[in-house]
Amino acid sequence: MTSYLFYPGCSMETSAKAYYESLIAVKKTLGLDLVEIDDWNCCGATEYLGINLIPAYALISRNLALATQQANGSRTVVAPCSACYLNLAKADHYMLERPELGEKVNLALQAGNLFYKPGSLEIRHLLDILINDVGLEEIKSKVKKPLRGIKVAPYLGCMVPRPDYKKRWSDHEHPDELDRLLSALGAEAIDFPLKTHCCGGHMPQISPSTAFELIRRLLHGADLYEADLLVTVCPMCQMNLDAFQAETNRYFHTNYKIPIIFFTQLMGLAFGEDPKELGFGRELVSTEFALSRIGLEIPEPDGSKVQPKRAKKTGLPMPTMPADEEAHK
Amino acid sequence: MSDAFEPIIIGFTCNWCSYRAADLAGTARVKYPANIRLIRLMCSGRIDPTFVLKAFASGADGVLITGCHPGECHYIEQNYKALRRYLLLKRSLTQLGIEAGRVKLVWASAAEGVRLADEITKMVEQVKTLGPLNWPKWEGFFDDEIHSLVEIPEEVSA
């Protein structure tokens, strides 16, 4: 079993408890060994960076330094939260790119008898680990209850695929990792064009109108594509789309009821775990209707659900996409 | 040793890019310190570490190796061979105690007269801060006067 250093981040203990609980539930099944970094501190989210440069990076790097101390063979730090993932990755990247920054940060860390050598850890997002280390085949093999019948909008948000210093994702704009994972679970992943668009970040606290508009776009998009459910990999995305959905509705006089949950929760369901164990019920926009769709035994003859072929048309051929080419191999 | 140390730097250039860059610096009247003396080779691939060692042994304080940019070598890819040799040579020189700053590899296209002049200026400055290489004149080095002083170093008997 590969062991990873685990940086949960503040929200896993509070607003994103469902994420944490479902992760705990599925990690057994997947044989993931996550070793939490002892006494980690907040990464500063997007706030600290806008106030003080060196302290912000020192704050982040304390975690990296602690992780190195604890490393014990493992060089990989896993973060489930997008903002944490990006902050950790970014500190590492910039301290390498601009050594003066790294030197100053390390001077500061000395005050706590700590040291971090830029580039010595690999910082990765949980989804990346599941797709690339565990692998879709492995995940597929663990599926007991395929989520057939549910239409899910895969939603990654900004900070996982961007800026992507280590080029880990298939694309900045339309990465397909989450789609492939959802398909492996048996769900129908809709081709959601807004999958890496912004949820509004901290804007609900700063410029609510800005935030509501960004939230609205996503809800509208999901609605347009008839998604039963949005699935995300980021606590902040979940919080904004879930907790502020009502306020957004009020602001725009709309009436969206689109639940948003964490991808690990869906994995748990597919692995046959008890929804209670997976943090279901903690969301403010109810998943009841969406889940009832999976609960339903949809009596469908084999093969009826094949994707419709591109209409046989008199029109002009479409260009082939690399993904198509792969599929043809 | 006088205060104004003027290092001597031997520079190797290739016929097609860097020597022409030096020519261009001239035609453009770009100024740089007179401490550099260039030798024209056909290609940076002609660089033999022997030349570099010879220059140091004969009194140079620094050696500059120049050639066409990667991918633009007149002889297609020979500058990469210069690069490989340079990297290994540099490791060896450091081990011998010759500071890494005394050898430098610079790519310069025929159009980069200004850049070459700039690199030369930087190199001269750098070698100035390193001070003279002072490789010993082998002959006088073993004069009685010297080795009579070299008895048992203090710290050992202490």
């Binding site: - | 100024k31 660089i47 991918g71 061979k81 002049a117």
Partner: protein, 670 residues
């Protein structure tokens, strides 16, 4: 095990000449002092005379040297003057006139590398002494050499039958010399054959290209090898031996009349990725387009039902002349040529890489080449500009500039033609559909004759210009009126505001890229690519069609993004350079070469893989390495690599260079 010594006594009689170059040198260097110093300090090395003179390169200066050679019996000459790149030839010729081997003369630069770049007179004078001493130390070890003369074979190979290659071939053939054209596709014509109209004059591409293609096809001096590729190049300037693979066409060109019945009858429809840019179909037996030259079709084996499944042969059944021959095989032909012109053109940037533009995902996003086919009267829609459904005429069209160009995420360079091509499209859309057209650009680059006038014309026609690089193209509607449209989101940088513009059709002005196999091509022909991948010319301004490899020329967009007028001009220029060579009959090349001392070579094979010209050959039987002097270009890499010191070189030998180092450091050696 002795250390290296430089002096070879007083055997040589050396003359040293220091030039004032008016005040160019004398203004910064005390030339008299230098000359006097050389006379006294280097006498021991054999310096017999050392003079300074106002203009060494003048005829009087040259005569001075010639007279000294004759009267004093000088055996070596060192001139301290300007750069060897300027006057090395001058002084060498002077020596030859005085019957001294020209390679016994060494020119050292005290102008470009001393007087013009330094200001302190004392330092400049000291440095001049040092570099002249370097020259004197070095010249002692020079060997008399003779330049190599190579005869030039009168035939020329042109690789690539686009407009640049066509032009070059016709110029040479018209001048009366044999030309071989190797074209990879079934027909010549290149990209230009795909276009409908060409900017800035809007000539119909076929109207101006087809006559040229026909001349190529029927020219008695041109051998056309289409559906062929170069596999091997051996030899050197004047005498290359080129091996060409002629792929099997499965059609016998002696019988085929080009009637095209076979193509009509063939049951297998294939998306034509090359000529139709993926926007149309062809058959498994096909000529890319009706005006193809040559007119004979080819069978594309990968798609032919007979080759894949074993039955069909519809073409064979219907061919009135029995020209189909399924038994044909690939053939290797060898030709001898004196010079080679590479004109293999460009590839279109793959717009799928800019994923925010949605090409390949969003049906109505088109590339520029797709649009060329769409608007071409002979294209898949007979020139109707319609959406991907094949019927709907767009009411609004957005044309996006700089796709994949001027962008560090893709290519840094400007693709040169795409602004003009975007304007051309705006005009065509406007003219044919009356649609509203937007052009989104960063900078409008319409340099060259009649180009900006074309821009004016398109402005006048009412095209809407938005200055801003398009951020994204999406079908995710957000505002009323956006549903069912493609939305172009952009900052209108002149208004300072973000805009979302719904359109029906988007055309991406994709940039031009080097051919995907450009690096292999360069390697095959022994020339080099820039970091971007374009083939490198000898000099970007003064020798744009020659390369660093003698006898290999480049023309057209293989050298960098280019429009048709420039491609044609380069084709003609390359032909002119080749003609010059052919007419001289032979060419002199510098005798700077490497050679192996078989006694010392231990066959370690360190050097074997180091020569880019494959000049180094290993003889297994004798366990020694040899260098083919005809292929060696004299770079010296192998000399510097041989661990046994078994390789030596003329012109830049170890002894010469080591001696020069001693000379340069002489002043500091005390």
């Amino acid at each position: 095990m002795t250390n290296f010594t430089t002096s070879n006594g007083n055997k040589e009689r050396i003359g040293v000449y220091v030039c004032h170059c008016g005040s160019n040198i004398a203004g910064t260097v005390n030339v008299e002092e230098v000359a006097a110093w050389v006379r006294t300090e280097l006498e021991g090395l054999g310096v017999l005379i050392s003079r300074d003179y106002k203009f060494m390169c003048s005829s009087l200066g040259q005569e001075l040297i010639q007279n000294d050679i004759k009267e004093l019996g000088l055996t070596r000459i060192v001139v301290g003057a300007c750069s060897p790149h300027l006057h090395e030839q001058t002084f060498r010729t002077a020596c030859r006139r005085a019957e001294l081997n020209p390679y016994l003369c060494e020119l050292v630069s005290i102008r470009e590398q001393i007087s013009w770049v330094h200001t302190d007179k004392d330092q400049a004078t000291e440095k001049s002494k040092a570099v002249i001493a370097g020259g004197v130390y070095r010249v002692v070890h020079h060997q008399p050499l003779e330049p190599l003369h190579v005869p030039i074979h009168p035939a020329t190979l042109v690789v690539g039958g686009g407009i640049a290659g066509i032009q070059a071939a016709l110029e040479l053939a018209d001048a009366g010399y044999p030309v071989y054209i190797v074209e990879r596709e079934p027909s010549i014509g290149g990209h230009m054959a795909q276009f409908d109209k060409t900017f800035p004059t809007l000539d119909c591409a076929a109207c101006i290209l087809t006559p040229k293609m026909v001349s190529v096809g029927s020219h008695p001096n041109i051998t056309l090898l289409t559906w062929s590729e170069v596999r091997q190049v051996e030899g050197y300037v004047g005498n290359f031996t080129v091996t060409i693979q002629k792929k099997a066409r499965y059609v016998n060109d002696e019988f085929c009349t080009g009637c095209a019945i076979c193509q009509e009858k063939c049951p297998k429809k294939v998306i034509d990725e090359i000529y139709e840019a993926g926007l149309g179909y062809r058959k498994a037996i096909y000529t890319p387009f009706p005006q193809a030259v040559p007119k004979y079709p080819v069978i594309d084996r990968q798609n032919c039902i007979y080759f894949q499944k074993g039955t069909c042969k519809a073409c064979e059944k219907f061919c009135p002349t029995n020209a189909i021959d399924f038994t044909q095989e690939d053939e290797l032909v060898t030709v001898n040529v004196g010079n080679i012109i590479l004109a293999t053109g460009y590839d279109l940037f793959d717009a799928r890489r800019v994923s925010q533009y949605g090409y390949g995902r969003l049906a109505n996003v088109f590339t520029s080449l797709e649009f060329e086919r769409l608007s071409n009267a002979a294209g898949p829609t007979n020139g109707d500009i319609v959406l991907r459904d094949g019927v709907t005429v767009p009411k609004t069209v957005g044309i996006v500039h700089c796709v994949g160009s001027r962008d560090r995420n893709f290519n840094n360079y400007c693709s040169v033609i795409c602004c003009m091509q975007g304007l051309k499209f705006a005009h065509i859309v406007h003219e044919r559909t009356g649609a509203t057209v937007y052009n989104f650009y960063i900078d409008m680059r319409t340099a060259y004759k009649a180009y900006d006038e074309f821009y004016q014309r398109v402005l006048e026609e009412g095209t809407l210009f938005v200055r801003g690089k398009v951020a994204e193209i999406t079908d995710a509607a957000r505002l009323p009126g956006e549903e069912g449209k493609l939305i172009i989101q952009v900052e209108d940088t002149l208004a300072g505001k973000q805009r979302r513009i719904p359109v029906d059709m988007v055309i991406l002005s994709s940039g031009l890229e080097p051919r995907s196999d450009a690096k292999d091509l360069a390697k095959l022909f022994g020339i080099s690519c820039s970091a971007d991948g374009w083939l490198i010319e000898k000099h970007p301004k003064l020798d744009p069609v020659a390369t660093m490899t003698e006898g290999i020329f480049i023309a057209g967009s293989v050298q960098g993004p280019k429009d048709i007028p420039t491609s044609v001009a380069q084709g003609a220029a390359a032909a002119a350079r080749v003609l010059g060579r052919i007419q001289q009959g032979e060419i002199a090349i510098e005798p700077i070469l490497a050679s192996v001392d078989a006694e010392k070579c231990s066959g370690c094979r360190i050097c074997n893989g180091l020569c880019p010209y494959n000049a180094i050959v290993f003889h297994d039987d004798r366990n020694v390495t040899e260098i083919n002097p005809a292929l060696c270009q004299g770079c010296g890499t192998c000399i510097a690599a041989c661990p046994a010191g078994a390789i030596s070189g003329t012109g830049f030998s170890d002894t010469q260079i080591l001696a020069q180092i001693d000379g340069l450091l002489l002043l500091n050696a005390e």
